[in-house]
């Protein structure tokens, strides 16, 4: 009887240790994956909340857009709507293209400007200009 109990205790102990060694790394990996995603999500929200643009001038086909937030944007990734219609990137010229630091401006030359223009940044922040 005593030997049977010992055998059962050994089987249970070995199994529990084996299962714990299988389960813990998976839970740890999953937890790290979620923590990393939470960090990215918070980062995206922070960037979104700190993004603000303003159209400071509109003369003819040219718009000057000021990065009034504290997030560095990418001027190549803006989208332009004219009178509600999405315009492809071949319909306007952005200069300078690329990194758009805070408190700096970019020029957007629209080939066929309309009355109502909407500029959207990569993270969805937008500004309107109406003539």
């Amino acid at each position: 009887m005593g030997f049977s109990t010992s055998a059962v205790v050994v089987i249970f102990s070995a199994s529990v240790m084996y299962m714990a060694s299988m389960f813990y790394p998976l839970v740890d990996m999953s937890n790290k994956q979620v923590q990393e995603a939470e960090k990215i999500s918070n980062e995206l929200w922070k960037e979104k909340l700190n993004t603000k643009i303003a159209i400071t001038s509109r003369v003819g086909n040219n718009l000057v857009i000021f990065n009034n937030g504290s997030t560095t944007l990418d001027s190549r990734k803006i989208n332009v709507f004219i009178d509600g219609e999405f315009k492809s990137s071949s319909s306007y010229i952005v200069s300078p293209g690329g990194v758009w630091p805070p408190k700096t401006s970019i020029n957007v030359d629209i080939i066929a400007p309309g009355g109502r223009v909407k500029i959207v940044t990569a993270n969805g922040a937008a500004e309107y200009s109406v003539t």
């Binding site: 009887m1 030997f3 049977s4 109990t5 055998a7 059962v8 089987i11 249970f12 199994s15 299962m19 299988m22 389960f23 998976l26 839970v27 990996m29 999953s30 937890n31 994956q33 979620v34 990393e36 995603a37 939470e38 990215i40 999500s41 995206l44 979104k48 990734k77 989208n79 709507f81 009178d83 509600g84 219609e85 999405f86 492809s88 990137s89 109502r116 909407k118 959207v120 990569a122 993270n123 969805g124 937008a126 309107y128």
Partner: protein, 150 residues
């Protein structure tokens, strides 16, 4: 007595080992199932956290051609999104897939990458008033957009 006691002990030993192995087997199955659920659950949650979409239309002027309204949705997260299971709800009514035409602008394909704009053409009849659009991705992330038709 000696031989009988040994046989009894042997029977008890074998029975206890078999019961213990059965219990351990059942426990192991449950732990495996739990592990798989944890892995799948965390993968889904992390995908949801990395997914974000934004309807970027001009709410004042929604392009409309013969009852086909065009909506533009931008992938503002960092997760690729499949366009097959995008749900479009206007004023609380789900628009059937047959009445939707989805195109990824400038890039094409079926995978909606970060920064890409998805054009959704919806064939619907909308009265001239305010409307509420909800776009929902496969993993449940949504954006709501209020607009006006004239």
């Amino acid at each position: 007595m000696g031989a009988g006691a040994s046989a009894t002990q042997m029977v008890f030993f074998i029975a206890s080992v078999m019961i213990a192995l059965s219990v351990v087997g059942a426990l192991f199955m449950n732990v495996q199932s739990l592990s798989s659920s944890v892995v799948i659950g965390s993968k889904t949650l992390s995908e949801q956290l990395k997914t974000d979409i934004t309807v970027i239309n001009d709410p004042e002027i929604i392009p409309n051609s013969s009852g086909i309204y065009t909506f533009y949705v931008k992938n503002t997260g960092i997760q690729e999104i499949g366009t097959n299971y995008i749900t479009v709800i206007i004023d609380g009514i789900i628009i059937s897939d047959n009445d939707l035409n989805k195109t990824i602008l400038e890039e094409g394909g079926q995978t909606w990458l970060t920064g890409d704009v998805l054009q959704i053409n919806a064939t619907v009849t909308l009265a001239a008033r305010d409307h509420k659009l909800r776009i929902i991705t496969r993993n449940g992330i949504e954006d709501t957009f209020l607009f006006r038709t004239t």
